[in-house]
């Protein structure tokens, strides 16, 4: 019998490495794609989605039994994405964020093959253009609805706002998305 996400998370709380491996396997592609759609950058998406798994590992013991795992995990991931965008505004890049004496935690990124890299870059660039005019919360709301198929109530839990605010985010986000699609069609 396949263990539920919630059960796996509880096991991770008891430091079950196998449960962690299984949950990472289930969520890694989705987490990466969601991060990529919000951040518009492959490297950042890989780092931030891995950060989300690290947070998951470190705080699995505090996972509430009543919460749905996907809602809880998406909250971690989306908050990290929004935070990453905030921290990486162009003017912040001018000042180093981490103290120089701190050991680098991120190893150099794994290099994918050139063909795969080109396809990835193209898709992400297209998506970035499409979502360029959406605010981070609009992006998150639309993507959680479209990609993760979360309900407005679940998205409200992830974004920590009201259901009505989510509806407005989705409505405005989709309006911007449609404009971008029209522009793209006009350009082609």
């Amino acid at each position: 019998m396949e263990l539920s996400d919630e059960e796996l998370c509880r096991r991770i709380g008891r430091r079950d490495a196998q449960a962690f491996d299984l949950l990472v396997e289930r969520y890694q592609a989705r987490a990466y794609r969601l991060a990529c759609s919000i951040l518009g950058n492959e490297d950042d998406a890989r780092d931030v989605s891995q950060d989300a798994f690290i947070r998951l590992y470190e705080s699995a013991a505090s996972f509430g039994a009543r919460a749905r795992f996907s809602t809880w995990f998406h909250r971690i991931l989306v908050n990290l994405c929004i935070d990453h965008r905030r921290r990486n505004r162009w003017w912040r890049r001018l000042v180093p964020l981490a103290p120089a004496d701190e050991p680098p935690i991120d190893p150099p990124s794994e290099e994918p093959g050139p063909e795969r890299e080109a396809i990835g870059r193209q898709s992400i660039a297209g998506l970035r253009r499409l979502l360029a005019n959406l605010s981070p919360k609009q992006r998150a709301a639309v993507l959680l609805q479209v990609q993760e198929e979360l309900s407005s109530r679940e998205i409200a839990e992830v974004l920590q706002c009201s259901e009505n605010t989510v509806r407005v985010h989705v409505h405005r986000g989709l309006a911007e998305l449609r404009k971008a699609l029209k522009r793209e069609q006009g350009a082609n």
Binding site: A29, P107, L127, V146, Q147, S151, S152, V168, L174, R178
Partner: protein, 185 residues
């Protein structure tokens, strides 16, 4: 009939998230509003297109992705352990410092308390008991007593009030018959 276009409720309606009542209202509105029907169709199409593009993003190689994740997790663990060791040394230094400080503070407090207690319980010297100030104070008090003697008739009259017979016949006392000094003496 909804008079305003239910813009933000269209997607939740398409996803079946609305309550029966709200869903019925949006459905009635859509029946009579071609603009909102077109809006709902366009929103659905945009969502499908977005889904197609997001799914088109190539997922990272799962083995490499996980290897990178575990390396980072391990690096964090080691860093936390190093920090923990530093914290332990720092805590030990602080504990010793705090203990010494607390001991010194307790010693000073005990000394102050002992001194204050001895001041309270010590008998004053005899010459202080009969100090000139104290004698002057007593003289003032005696003087006040002597002054009372000057108003002796009043005092005597007050004494009369303690006589039960007098109290019983208070009404009989003549209001305008002050006792003469001769009678009293």
């Amino acid at each position: 009939m909804i008079t305003r276009h239910p813009d933000a409720a269209l997607v939740p309606y398409l996803r079946g998230e609305l309550s029966d009542e709200e869903g019925a209202r949006v459905a009635r509105h859509l029946e009579g509003c071609a603009a909102c029907r077109a809006e709902a169709d366009a929103a659905g199409a945009a969502m499908r297109e977005l889904w197609r593009r997001v799914e088109g993003i190539p997922a990272p190689d799962p083995v490499q992705y996980r290897a990178g994740l575990y390396r980072r997790l391990e690096a964090r663990r080691s860093a936390a352990q190093r920090r923990g060791q530093k914290t332990d040394e720092w805590s030990r230094t602080r504990i010793v410092g705090f203990s010494l400080g607390a001991l010194a503070a307790a010693g000073v407090a005990a000394l102050i308390l002992t001194m204050r207690w001895s001041v309270h319980v010590a008998m004053p010297p005899l010459d202080q008991l009969a100090s000139p100030d104290r004698i002057a104070q007593e003289a003032v008090m005696s003087g006040a007593d002597i002054d009372m003697l000057r108003d002796y008739p009043i005092v005597e009259h007050l004494d009369l009030l303690e006589n039960y017979d007098t109290i019983a016949h208070l009404d009989d006392l003549a209001p305008s018959a002050p006792a003469s000094d001769e009678n009293r003496s």
